[in-house]
């Protein structure tokens, strides 16, 4: 990602020279992107996430079901890391979703989290999503939250 932070006219030696203006903005804490900028970025990525939910998630879940007990990893929409595993007899799918949005440290919006979980478990109503505390016996990462359900 590249940010346009400030714009000004370059007048060497003038008080309103661009570089002096940039330095004043930095000193005032107004130069770097703020929370509103990051939220706008998140909004801009929503269509990308939607496409990935429709295309990438079913493929990842299908791969997990074809290889029971094997943890598969993916990045949904290029922004949300997810790991998924399917255990056999009875078949149970567990998905661990990172709560940190890539790139950076912003948390994944709550509605995105539920949408990702619902995409992995499309037959499970959101109110019936069960929280899992491990991933087929493996520890979750500190930033992950996991959901599971039996799959037909």
């Amino acid at each position: 990602m590249i940010w346009l932070l400030a714009v000004g006219y370059h007048r060497e030696g003038h008080i309103d020279d661009a570089y002096a203006y940039f330095a004043r903005l930095k000193a005032a804490g107004r130069l770097l992107p703020d929370r509103e900028d990051m939220l706008a970025f998140v909004r801009s990525q929503a269509p990308t996430l939607a496409r990935s939910l429709l295309n990438d998630v079913p493929a990842l879940a299908a791969t997990a079901r074809e290889h029971p007990g094997v943890i598969h990893s993916g990045t949904i929409g290029g922004r949300i890391r997810a790991r998924v595993v399917c255990e056999a007899d009875p078949a149970m799918l567990t998905v661990a979703i990172s709560q940190r949005l890539l790139p950076g440290e912003m948390p994944v919006p709550a509605d995105w989290l539920v949408r990702v979980a619902a995409a992995f478990l499309p037959d499970t109503p959101p109110e019936r999503l069960s929280v899992a505390f491990d991933l087929a016996g493996h520890e979750l990462q500190p930033d992950e939250i996991a959901f599971c359900d039996f799959v037909g």
Binding site: M1, I2, L5, A18, F22, L31, E36
Partner: protein, 87 residues
């Protein structure tokens, strides 16, 4: 426009958009191509986003030591923007 693999995603802070470029605040949600039609500086950012380090883009290390930052001159106007990306 979307950033593909290895491509920088261009974004404009709302402060820069409104204070420096005089564009409406809701423009922060517009696609970069729409904003580029309203500002030569934004058009330059869009067109040069993959050219960090090319001649004419001076590093501003003293300004933002923790973020790689460079100036970007826009032809004819002597107008300079500062652009940065997380290091």
């Amino acid at each position: 426009m979307e950033g593909g693999r290895g491509e920088l995603i261009p974004r404009i802070t709302w402060r820069c958009l409104t204070d420096d470029l005089g564009l409406p605040a809701d423009g922060v949600d517009l696609p970069i191509d729409d904003l580029a039609n309203a500002s030569d500086v934004i058009a330059a950012l869009r067109d040069r986003r993959g050219e960090m380090g090319s001649p004419g883009q001076e590093p501003i290390r003293s300004l933002l030591p923790s973020w790689p930052s460079r100036s970007m001159s826009v032809d004819g106007a002597e107008q300079r923007g500062t652009a940065a990306r997380p290091g």
